[in-house]
């Protein structure tokens, strides 16, 4: 049995979401962009894990099941993202997302 106040956990996950959002908006390297998305997703998983174990909600384990599903989805997303990195590197010779503007031009 542990007792950690909810505002601490929610504060941490909000701050992590902010860091991830900042990374998504500023980084130009595709791999750094993937890492920023992972940080933001981990903020969401942290919320699910905390409230899954929260006493008295009655739906405890659905939260952990949702966390399992999100972890799987995040791994899938990294795999597809790296496939896009490889294709982009082959087409453009760099993984800068600012250069991937073929559809726009």
């Amino acid at each position: 049995m542990t007792a950690i106040p909810p505002d601490l956990v929610l504060g941490l996950s909000s701050a992590l979401l902010g860091v991830g959002l900042f990374g998504i908006l500023t980084r130009r390297n595709f791999i750094l962009l993937l890492i920023a998305i992972e940080i933001a997703m981990n903020a969401a998983i942290l919320n699910f894990v905390y409230f899954a174990a929260f006493n008295g909600t009655g739906a405890g384990l659905s939260g952990q099941a949702a966390a399992v599903v999100i972890i799987g989805l995040a791994a899938t997303e990294v795999a597809v993202g790296l496939a896009i990195v490889l294709a982009l590197n082959r087409l453009k010779g760099s993984i800068n997302v600012a250069e991937a503007a073929t559809l726009r031009n």
């Binding site: 601490l8 981990n42 384990l61 989805l73």
Partner: protein, 162 residues
């Protein structure tokens, strides 16, 4: 303030610091090392929150597989692995937008009753009963998504595509 809260505070500071460092360091390999520390730190938080199965899953999937995949991506896309990134400055608009989101979320924190509620631990068998019982459709959906993502990834990287 009890011992668990102190431990959580320490882990939270490490998590925030490593997340910021991972995005600001200019060498991509160092970024991946920091993000590996971040994932291990979050696994420790899950163990602290009595979700041991998810902690193990975090260590295996994130600290193990995702980190290696990212390193592989760095290895195959650059000639010199330890070369530095070009400095992309911290734009004031993205920083402001992220700060606004964080301030809005922090502003909502007082709405939540802040009494420390005991956290219950669950056995991994209970989680598997839920995953293969009432929450089974989600697991099926995850499997279908992973299968189509696998097909899409193979399509993207296949040879002879220009």
């Amino acid at each position: 303030m009890n011992l668990e809260t102190l431990g959580f505070l320490g882990l939270a500071v490490v998590a925030l610091a490593t997340a910021v460092l991972a995005l600001l360091v200019r060498e991509l390999v160092h970024t991946i090392l920091w993000v590996a520390v971040f994932f291990v730190d979050l696994a420790a938080i899950y163990f602290l929150l009595e979700a041991s199965f998810l902690g193990v899953l975090q260590l295996g999937v994130y600290a193990g597989a995702v980190t290696i995949l990212l390193l592989f991506g760095v290895m195959v896309t650059r000639k010199r692995i330890f070369s530095k990134e070009a400095a992309t400055g911290i734009g004031p608009v993205p920083l402001g937008l992220a700060l606004v989101v964080v301030i809005l979320l922090f502003g909502a924190l007082p709405e939540i009753p802040s009494t420390a509620t005991p956290v219950r631990s669950y056995a991994a068998t209970d989680l598997s009963l839920t995953l293969f019982g009432p929450d089974g459709p989600w697991l099926l959906l995850l499997g279908l998504t992973m299968m189509s993502a696998l097909a899409g990834a193979i399509y993207l990287v296949r040879e002879g595509r220009e």
